[in-house]
């Protein structure tokens, strides 16, 4: 039994290394003694038979239309994965494309796939920097954000409350959107490596669905100590003091 993690549209949607979160999941699964593989999928034909998790990263605005066209060819699968509880992690513009829609600064709108509630709306200036989120499911999440749009309409189901950074913006004090096991976040880059608790919760869900048991491996302890040091440095940079468990 091999856990299959799909890295979706890595050619267009890997600007900040977000797609590497698929590798983080597979690596942690292997450290736990489970078989796991990452399958890169650029078109619907390349989808594997079995899908245990999906990672969809962020791209640039010029590829929004192209990525949307490609995602639309997998619209039915997305609905099915969402209903069946397959974990889907979407980041930045990948998340925006799974929403109800994206409003561009030009006034044009792009219709999303409607998998996650809410829509992306333009903001006056791009925001970049450290983000700290207190999440009821995953504890304290730490990462970087870099986006030119806010996100509205997910007020009832955010990923968590902001301790630092802009997150969904519009004075919501919130970051991200969650619907079942579908996640949308502005936290780009290796968010699952930096937040092992988040990664392990996704892996537990995947394992349970597959009739397996997930217990973090010994190697994960060593590596999570690096994550812990990186988190501490970033919390300091963000001016947030939270005692780490």
């Amino acid at each position: 039994m091999t856990l299959t993690i799909v890295s979706l549209l890595p050619r267009l949607q890997n600007t900040n290394g977000d797609a590497e979160n698929a590798r983080v999941l597979a690596t942690r699964a292997r450290w736990a003694g489970l078989d796991a593989t990452v399958v890169e999928v650029e078109t619907a034909e390349q989808l594997p038979q079995r899908v245990d998790a999906i990672v969809l990263g962020s791209g640039s605005d010029s590829s929004l239309d192209e990525s949307r066209e490609l995602l639309l060819t997998m619209h039915d699968e997305f609905r099915r994965w969402g209903t069946e509880g397959v974990p889907i992690l979407s980041i930045g513009t990948g998340w925006e494309l799974l929403s109800w829609g994206i409003e561009l600064a030009s006034g044009r709108s792009i219709e999303g796939l409607g998998i996650l509630p809410g829509r992306a709306v333009p903001r006056a200036n791009r925001v970049t920097g450290d983000v700290v989120v207190k999440s009821p499911r995953f504890g304290v999440l730490v990462g970087f954000e870099n986006h030119a749009r806010d996100y509205v309409g997910a007020e009832a189901s955010p990923l968590g409350r902001l301790r630092a950074g802009h997150g969904n913006g519009r004075d919501s004090g919130q970051e991200g959107a969650v619907m079942g096991d579908v996640y949308g976040t502005h936290l780009h880059g290796p968010v699952l490596a930096k937040n092992p608790e988040f990664a392990d919760r996704l892996l537990e869900t995947m394992a349970t669905r597959a009739g397996l048991e997930y217990m973090p491996g010994a190697r994960a302890q060593t590596v999570d100590a690096y994550a812990s040091a990186a988190r501490a440095a970033q919390l300091t940079a963000a001016g947030v003091s939270i005692p780490e468990a």
Binding site: S62, H188, A229
Partner: protein, 418 residues
């Protein structure tokens, strides 16, 4: 006479700065002259008898500029150029002041400037260039530029200042799109690599978007073959053998860029053999695969500036190299964009250090690299690394970012600090 008072003030400021920091350069005189004589920079840059040549792009602009200057000087052209650290407005004015007479005039037939892709668009407002050379668009310093389109649009604004020609990397799809939009009367010259060279780079050339097809031999300057630190260029069908300052396809591409730009600048006066000799005589660059002896130990220094140079350089470290020090400094604010790289071939790293050591260790660990120690303090890490007995195989290898490189130089008291 117009600028004499401003120049005098600039000179005095420079004198004062030198008293404070002997031997050091400073951007302060430039800052002051820009304030009291805001048009000095634009007028001076536009005033060279054989015009202004600008080199910009995400990566390779320093090397390309050095190579271009060497080729032009070998053709007996009197060149004014800026040190690579002075590629933004204040630094540029300071560099001009270094050479200026009391009226502010700078000697030279032609000016060749390396231009920061971010500040260049601003500096170039109202400045007329003859030729603009663009190297590539890469994802680099992402928290400054955010995305490739922003870099491309800033390069387009620099290119728009070219009155005679632009010289572009034909393998970079962003630059090819930019070249399609030059105004009438501005010539487009191209450089690139052949299909064979491209095929021999399994990870590609690192451009954000690579053009669909390579140039074919005939009118442009192509990198025909690369073998270690030597290469053969194809200049409109004729083969030209050159030496490179270090091994690597990207140096050959820089050489092709400099060669093509020199051709555009010199026209009939250009000699391919003079250009080849000048390119081959360029000394190795510090930090680029340079080997030196420090505290009695052979050490190889490897500078990484962006994900593509990181990948190229990591790939070039011999498998089984026993002792590697990894130093990632505060110049990499968010290392996320380095994650698509793969350092698995290193297998083991002795020490990971620098202000981003924890982030770097995390990334290396997910590549499957074993890490013996994480030591955030660069000084202690360097001392301990150099104190380790010489490795049984390979040479002590230090991989660093630009900020960590400067701190390493200072800590080890190495010459040539910028």
């Amino acid at each position: 006479m117009r600028y004499a008072p401003a120049i005098l003030v600039g000179r005095l400021t420079r004198f004062a700065a030198r008293l404070r920091k002997p031997g050091g350069g400073s951007a302060v005189p430039g800052l002051i002259v820009n304030r009291i004589a805001p048009k000095y920079l634009k007028r001076t840059l536009s005033g060279f008898p054989q015009g202004l040549v600008v080199v910009s792009g995400s990566s390779g602009k320093s090397t390309t500029t050095k190579m271009l200057v060497a080729i032009l000087r070998a053709h007996d052209v009197d060149v004014f150029t800026n040190p690579s650290t002075a590629n933004i407005s204040q630094g540029l004015t300071s560099a001009l002041l270094e050479q200026a007479d009391w009226r502010g005039r700078v000697p030279g037939d032609v000016a060749v400037l390396e231009m920061d892709e971010g500040h260049g668009a601003l500096v170039m407002q109202g400045v007329d260039a003859r030729v603009v050379c663009l190297t590539n668009v890469m994802v680099d310093q992402i928290d400054r530029f955010h995305d490739s389109e922003m870099v491309a649009s800033m390069l387009a604004r620099i290119a728009a200042r070219a009155g005679e020609s632009i010289v572009v990397n034909a393998d970079d799809a962003y630059l090819e799109r930019l070249a399609a939009r030059v105004r009438p009367g501005v010539a487009v010259h191209r450089f690139g690599v052949t299909d064979a060279v491209f095929a021999a780079s399994p990870r590609g050339l690192g451009y954000t978007q690579t053009s669909d097809a390579r140039l074919s031999s005939g009118t442009d300057v192509l990198v025909q073959t690369v073998d270690g630190a030597s290469a053969v260029l194809d200049d409109a069908g004729a083969s030209v053998s050159i030496g490179l300052p270090a091994r690597g396809v990207h140096y050959a591409v820089d050489a092709a860029a400099a060669y093509a730009t020199a051709k555009a600048v010199l026209g009939e006066r250009f000699s391919s053999s003079t250009a080849a000799d000048a390119l081959s005589a360029i000394p190795a660059v510090f930090g680029r695969g340079e080997r030196t002896t420090v505290r009695g130990q052979d050490v190889e220094f490897v500078l990484v500036q962006n994900p593509s140079s990181y990948q190229l350089n990591v790939d070039s470290i011999a498998p089984g190299t026993e002792q590697i020090l990894f130093a990632i400094g505060s110049d990499v604010r968010d290392p996320s964009y380095f994650w698509p790289t793969d350092a698995a071939s290193l297998e083991r790293v002795s020490i990971v250090t620098g202000s981003k050591s924890a982030e770097a260790a995390l990334m290396l660990a997910y590549d499957g690299v074993e890490i013996d120690r994480v030591e955030p303090d660069l000084g202690s890490a360097l001392d301990d690394f150099l104190a380790m007995p010489a490795p049984a195989s390979g040479v002590k290898t230090i991989v660093f970012t630009a900020d960590a490189m400067r701190r390493t130089r200072t800590h080890l008291g190495l010459a040539g600090a910028e």
